[in-house]
């Protein structure tokens, strides 16, 4: 269960950082700046940032970037990365073609 938080808007302006253009999610080509901006827009955990930007929703399903995204969100929020809720992984763990899925022999 997630921690109880009261969400309020930031007073501060969004300030760009020099490395904002570095790609974080390699599959969907989402940058550090976009993730920071999403947090600024109100996204407060991995699920929300993911659904807002598509980070971790590409071909590799976040296997490469999840830890990075978590630490960027945590840094923006000034909290420990361990406190950031992560999405529950879902099957399939690797890409599976539709014909392979269809061929599961369970209805035979």
């Amino acid at each position: 269960m997630s921690k109880t938080i009261e969400r309020v808007l930031l007073d501060e302006e969004f300030i760009s950082e020099t490395d904002d253009s570095v790609i974080i999610c390699r599959c969907e080509e989402i940058t550090k700046g976009e993730i920071r901006k999403a947090v600024y827009d109100g996204m407060r955990n991995m699920n929300e940032v993911k659904r807002y930007l598509r980070v971790g929703m590409g071909l590799c399903q976040g296997q490469t970037c999840t830890k990075l995204v978590k630490s960027i969100i945590a840094k923006e929020l000034g909290i420990n990365p361990g406190e950031i809720e992560v999405p529950i992984p879902r099957s399939p763990t690797r890409p599976v073609s539709m014909q392979t899925y269809a061929n599961d022999g369970i209805n035979k």
């Binding site: 361990g82 392979t100 599961d104």
Partner: protein, 529 residues
């Protein structure tokens, strides 16, 4: 639906060990692995392991993998390769993608041993071809016989970074530098000294600023960072590299445990999100276990024991072994595991930078932590290095092992009893000043850290003979002339090969003896043409 008594997911060190343990107790076990070859990361580990004999110390990882596979198959374990477990569902149903089909298979018990995945570090240019994970480098060179690149920058000085840097050199690549944002080397000192004496420079408190190139990496700029990890302007260095290898730690690959519904925790000490397990590696779901890196990032040696523990526990829970047998085995495995979990690289000491003394009270070499090698002044203080008086008598082992790491093969390697460690395998080895070294070189070859040398200051008037471990190709021949290098990889001057020992028991660690001027007896530690 097909049902097994035990499904093990992952045929790496933990998975195979778990399968062996359970099968040896009479369980019907099937192991699924997504790779085309079994052994997991063991397959890529071509270096000798640490630990004691029970931990298969001084054996090379890939050979351990082969042995485990053989043992498992002999016990009737079915090891299925190219089998991707795509999900774990209700009622312990495992779905496996195999031969273009999804197979629904049930298990009474599941051991998840899926290992870890590599962490990454982003920097401008990190998506370019030529930037790879350290594991990718190992896969290419040690499995497929392909050099990952020619001129390499290694990012990360933990054990993976150090070991892979060494393996890259063995594969014929040039390692241009090892950098780490931390102010000290993260891995074992002995792994660092191996590459330092071959001339690889360390840049600590350095990070990569940019990798440049048009289609692929053509170079990199590194920069020094201050205590707050901010780049120090003007400290940039350009490196001529074609490959950047990232070795910045591992994360448990715990997706299947989470998918199965196991209670999870985020534990930085364990490397990330892991299933919460009891002492028998059982998760919050009865009958689902997690062993090896998937439950906490450690070494392959500990993964094997964790596999054993979960295999014993499942055998006991399913009534294949009785209570007393279980209690005894659990005790044996726990003790073995706790041996590996001691010393300055243990879980509790992870990330500590305030350690200044060994458990015996010796100063920990700061030079080693910062540059990757021991200074001549420091090295003589350790118990593996005999006094000048003793050295003058003739050939003697010089053990430059200066950190408390869990390893003891050297004490049994010496048939003359010259080397002592005792029962606490993290103790520093002590060379007995009264023992008679016969110069057999077995200790040199047995040291997984390649930290043992034989020094003979009486070799010839004005000359010393130095024997050292050598694992490069081509192997120098007796009579060859080249140069001696010091611990920092700096050329001292001319040296000649006077003997090359390469017997089966040395298992690929050849012992090369070179003749050098007497004054280099405590300086010369490597040879090249």
């Amino acid at each position: 639906m097909k049902r097994y008594e035990l499904i093990v997911i992952g045929a790496g060190p933990a998975g195979l060990s778990a399968a062996i343990e359970a099968a040896s107790n009479g369980m019907d076990v099937i192991v699924f692995d997504e790779n085309s070859k079994p052994g997991g990361q063991l397959l890529k580990q071509i270096h000798k392991f640490f630990g004691s004999k029970a931990h298969k110390a001084k054996e090379r990882g890939f050979k351990i993998g082969e042995e485990l596979l053989k043992e498992a198959r002999e016990l009737g374990v079915e090891v299925v390769l190219n089998a991707v477990v795509i999900g774990i569902f209700q009622n312990k149903e495992v779905n496996v993608m195999l031969d273009g089909q999804i197979k629904h298979i049930k298990a009474n018990n599941i051991i998840i041993a899926t290992g870890a995945s590599e962490n990454v570090v982003p920097f401008p240019g990190w998506t370019m071809p030529g930037v790879i994970g350290a594991g990718a480098a190992q896969t290419m060179m040690n499995i497929h016989g392909l050099k990952p690149g020619n001129k390499i920058l290694m990012v990360g000085s933990g054990n993976v970074g150090l070991v892979v840097a060494y393996q890259l050199i063995q594969a014929g690549c040039m390692v241009k530098a090892i950098i780490d944002a931390a102010p000290r080397i993260g891995g074992y000192g002995v792994h660092a000294t191996k590459v330092a004496r071959m001339g690889v420079p360390f840049y600590l408190s350095h990070t990569i600023k940019v990798a440049y190139g048009s289609e692929a990496v053509e170079g990199a700029t590194i920069v020094q960072v201050d205590r707050n990890w901010k780049a120090i302007e003007g400290s940039e260095k350009k490196l001529d590299v074609d490959t950047i290898c990232i070795a910045v730690g591992l994360s448990p690959m715990s997706q299947l445990a989470s998918m199965a519904g196991c209670d999870m925790e985020n534990n930085p000490q364990k490397g990330g999100t892991v299933p919460i397990c009891n002492q028998y590696n059982e998760t919050s779901i009865s009958g689902i276990y997690a062993a090896g890196d998937v439950s906490a990032i450690e070494e392959a040696s500990s993964a094997m024991i964790e596999g054993r523990i979960s295999g014993t526990a499942v055998s006991y829970n399913q009534k294949y072994i009785g209570k007393s047998e279980f209690v005894n085995r659990f005790k044996e495995y726990s003790e073995s595991l706790s041996q590996l979990r001691q010393g300055m690289f243990s879980h509790e000491n992870k990330g500590r930078i305030d350690l200044t003394k060994t458990e015996e009270g010796y100063d920990i070499s700061q030079n080693l932590l910062q540059n990757g090698y021991l200074s001549e002044k420091e090295v003589i203080k350790y118990p593996g290095v005999v006094s000048e008086k003793v050295r003058k008598r003739g050939i003697v082992p010089i053990i430059e092992c200066t950190q408390n790491i869990p390893c003891d093969p050297c004490q049994t390697a010496c048939s003359m009893g010259c080397i002592k460690i005792g029962n606490t395998i993290t103790n520093l080895p002590v060379v007995d000043e009264n023992s008679n070294c016969i110069g057999c070189g077995m200790c040199v070859a047995s040291c997984s850290g390649q930290a043992i040398f034989l020094v003979d200051e009486n070799y010839a008037p004005g000359f010393a003979a130095i024997s050292m471990p050598y694992e490069l190709y081509p192997l120098p021949q007796k009579g060859d002339k080249g140069v001696a290098l010091d611990r920092a990889g700096k050329v001292l001057g001319e040296a000649q090969v006077i003997e090359v020992k390469t017997i089966k028991a040395m298992d690929g660690t050849n012992v090369l003896t070179i003749k050098v001027p007497l004054e280099w007896s405590m300086k010369a530690r490597f040879f090249k043409y």
